[in-house]
């Protein structure tokens, strides 16, 4: 098997493709660097010149608002030139292959690609084919990985809970189709969280999920007991069209997070959600907007974390 394609020959981060297989030192370095940038976002002059003269291409083969915007803000605060490409409606519809698109953009002297694609492995494939001075950041590939989302979640958890080593974390919802869940699980286990639970009906869990190092629960009441951090996942509407679930109402009744269910977790548990939320499907508005919710801070921290990732990659 090839060496981890994310690391260069010195063991430094060359691309950020997944949280799986990254050493804890690199994860902590990203989080610590993000701490130093978190202050920048609160300053009057929000720019620092770390990426001056660099070109960051946002390659979004799948639509996104929040992730693309936070990447753009992060890159601009680092003084990079940002080019946004909504490829879903341009080259691909003319039949150009993914690699041709990437090769053309490389020829325009890109320094960094931020890639989102509907297919698992797309970011890996791009990383395998770009010149060695180009860095690739995976902004979500199929069901596989969304590492910057997971890192901003880790950042949020550390902000509120200080230490990873005594936490119980529950991820609730559509684990099967979720790249966010996969990246969170790898990050949490790497950072030393002793107990990670996944809570979902069997139709929303991938086979052998326990091999990722998680405890599986189907009953949310049991699963939330003694929990410090709850991560609710978005339930995509298209899941309702297939045979995964009978109805949003039944899902909400058994797996949606309400105040009542939240009270089963620890008193000081925090509630997270990667967004966008389906209020009344996976989470009740009272919880989403409640005092235990840290959903909006997550978005804010997302900028600092993405600045950290970009600046670290640019320095390696």
């Amino acid at each position: 098997m090839n060496r981890n394609p994310q690391l260069n020959k010195h063991g430094e981060l060359q691309h950020l493709l997944t949280t799986e297989g990254l050493p804890v030192s690199i994860l902590l370095h990203i989080l610590d660097t993000a701490e130093s940038f978190a202050g920048v976002t609160e300053r009057e002059v929000k720019k620092i010149p770390l990426l001056r003269g660099k070109s960051v291409f946002n390659l979004f083969f799948e639509s996104s608002t929040r992730t693309r915007t936070t990447f753009e803000i992060a890159a601009k605060r680092l003084s990079a030139d940002v080019i946004n490409l909504n490829i879903a409606v341009s080259a691909q519809s003319k039949g150009e292959t993914l690699l041709d698109t990437v090769n053309n953009l490389s020829a325009m002297h890109a320094d960094m690609f931020v890639v989102r694609h509907s297919q698992s492995g797309a970011a890996h494939m791009i990383a395998n084919h770009v010149r060695s001075e180009i860095h690739v950041i995976n902004a979500g590939d199929g069901r596989h990985a969304h590492p910057t989302q997971a890192l901003l979640d880790m950042f949020t958890i550390r902000r509120y809970k200080k230490d990873f080593h005594n936490l119980r974390v529950a991820i609730v919802g559509d684990i099967l189709h979720s790249r966010v869940a996969r990246s969170q699980i790898h990050a949490l286990t790497t950072l030393g969280v002793p107990e990670v639970r996944v809570i979902a009906p069997k139709t929303l869990l991938p086979s052998k999920v326990e091999r990722l190092g998680v405890h599986v629960y189907h009953d949310i009441a049991q699963g939330l007991k003694d929990i410090d951090v709850l991560i609710m996942l978005r339930l995509q509407n298209e899941r309702m069209l297939g045979a995964s679930l009978p109805s949003p109402e039944e899902y909400f009744k058994y797996y949606g997070l309400t105040q009542e269910k939240l009270s089963l977790a620890k008193q000081d548990a925090i509630v997270m959600h990667p967004g966008p939320m389906n209020r009344g499907v996976e989470i009740d508005s009272a919880v989403a907007d409640g005092k235990q919710s840290v959903i909006l801070p997550q978005v804010t921290f997302g900028i600092a974390v993405r600045m950290a990732v970009m600046s670290i990659l640019a320095g390696n």
Binding site: M1, N2, N4, P5, E20, T97, L98, L99, H117, Q119, S120, G121, A122, H124, M125, H129, D141, G142, R143, H144, A145, R179, R182, P206, S207, K208, V209, R211, L212
Partner: protein
Amino acid sequence: MNINIHIKNGRLIDPKNGIDTVSDLYIVRGKVASLGAIPAGFQDCRVIDAAGLIVCPGLVDLSARLREPGLEYKATLESELKAAVAGGVTSLACPPDTDPPLDEPGLVEMLKHRTKSLDQVHVYPVGALTQKLKGERLTEMAELRDAGCVAFSHADAPLANLHVLMQAMQYASTFGFSVWLRPQEVSLANNGVAHAGEIATRLGLPPIPVCAETIALSNIILLTRETGVKVHLCRISSAEGVAMVRAAKQQGLPITCDIAINHVHLTEMDIGFFDTNCHLVPPLRNLHDRDALCGGLIDGTIDAICSDHAPVDDDAKLLPFGQTEAGATGLELLLSLTFKWATTMNIPLIKALNTVTLAPARVLGIDGGHLTPGAPADICIFDPEEYWKVTASTIQSQGKNTPFLGRELPGRVKFTLTDGNIVYES
């Protein structure tokens, strides 16, 4: 144009006759004339010094896609037959999933004619079980047989309607034809690309559960009992599948079975970081499954190993994993990988070679895969000590994609003879 050939001092291995000994082999008029003793009146025209080499029956491959007609951008008969002989393969069966599929006698006759004119390898077309492989109407099986088809299959095209499958099996049974089926329930495979296990879960790849194979297998086994047709099961991939085939054979059902050589060596773990060369059909499963497949080969539950040769053009592999075309080139790796399996697992070479010579010849119902005097002189001579590196330039096939790209493999073919003609020499 046959010349007499004297193959000297080779290690002759012939599974049918239980021979594994250093001896000479004499070929007269395209047939094996004798082993050991020089035939009366034999005059050397060509002497092959096979000292240190292994001389065995030419390989018989139960599944090699030649891509003609219709898919010449992936491969041509010329390129793939050249690959076959470079791999020591002297007989091969080609599945009907060409474009158009092999569902009309004229297409089969043309294919037979084209391959005959190239005169390198015996090519045995497998006819389509249903028209256009749509799974609706039966093909003219008897006509197709007369045109040269040796069996009928649905390749990897779904045949969802069990009524049609049963009728096809009954009709084939009427004439004593064999039906070759790859068990996969299409609704459970559900556009999956990898084994439903740890790797698919980690990589977020759409999964194919084992029950997609076993449920289809169960249907086929029950329909075999119902119709009495001879069935050859293609490309079993799971431990449970092997157990079901073993039980069916113990009940005396007329079933044979093959697996692909990649599945003898690889597992889902080999996908690594989305290696699209490991996108295969059926999917690579886990270690337990792989060991059960090997166990099935050893106890005879699985009769044969095939290359499942499927040349794919580079562009179709340079995509995100789930969008790539499944398949790998295999004709030139079959011998080396079978040899490697035998040596690493400590399996007697005569037993291992049986799975790629005599056993598949019996599945095909042809007189081949052995070195009995009087048999066609289809022979492979290889150097067991020589390693070769699998690269785009060492592979003759137009398809360069294989999970073994870049690897060194043991066992290099030195000569291939078909009907006593030297069709390959390195």
